[in-house]
């Protein structure tokens, strides 16, 4: 089974746009590009069609 690790990607949501409860976004490591140390994280919700 692939491992999923939790990342507090949306910490910015809490302070940034005033969302009260930002759900944690989990990322499948195989669906991530770029270094974990990158200062900017872009989460893209999309479909293929």
């Amino acid at each position: 089974m692939w491992s999923v690790w939790l990342v507090a990607l949306l910490a910015g949501v809490v302070s940034g746009v005033g969302a009260q409860t930002a759900p944690a976004i989990d990322a499948d490591p195989s669906m991530v590009k770029g270094p974990p140390t990158a200062p900017v994280t872009i989460v893209e919700f999309s479909d293929y069609q």
Binding site: I25, S30, G34, V40, E44, F45, S46, D47, Q49
Partner: protein, 131 residues
């Protein structure tokens, strides 16, 4: 992505819309490719091939990438990643995401396929750090 090499991390989340009948099998297939070590090449192939996502197409894209056919088929047919795709959908709902593509750039929502300059402006802003 290239111009921000090392400074930007991209996390892809599946949001197959109900109006796109083949988007869900495509999303599951991409994760199958990921489990076999080729998520991004398969992902790119799907975007180039849309909307040809019948089972035979999905398998062909996998074999084009030299993925082991039997393992890929087993993954696809058993719908091994159905729950994972569903979990992404639930997260999208929780975040109020209703259309694709929707981005969060350091948590800041960015909706729709907008011109690259708009992207740059939000990314550059995020790179300057919190205000």
């Amino acid at each position: 992505m290239k111009e921000y090499d090392g400074r930007v991390r991209l996390v892809f989340k599946d949001l197959p819309l109900p109006s796109h009948a083949l988007a869900r099998p495509a999303a599951e297939a991409a994760r199958c490719a990921g489990s076999l070590g080729r998520y991004w090449p398969y992902h790119d192939k799907l975007f180039a091939a849309q909307p040809n996502f019948e089972r035979a197409d999905l398998i062909r894209y996998a074999t084009d990438l030299a993925l082991p056919r039997e393992a890929f088929e087993r993954c696809l047919d058993s719908r091994r990643f159905a729950a994972a795709v569903e979990a992404d959908l639930a997260q999208a709902r929780a975040l109020g995401v209703r259309s694709t593509p929707t981005f969060f750039i350091n948590g800041r929502p960015f909706v729709g396929a907008q011109p690259i300059e708009n992207f740059r402006s939000v990314i550059d802003d995020a790179l300057r750090g919190p205000r």
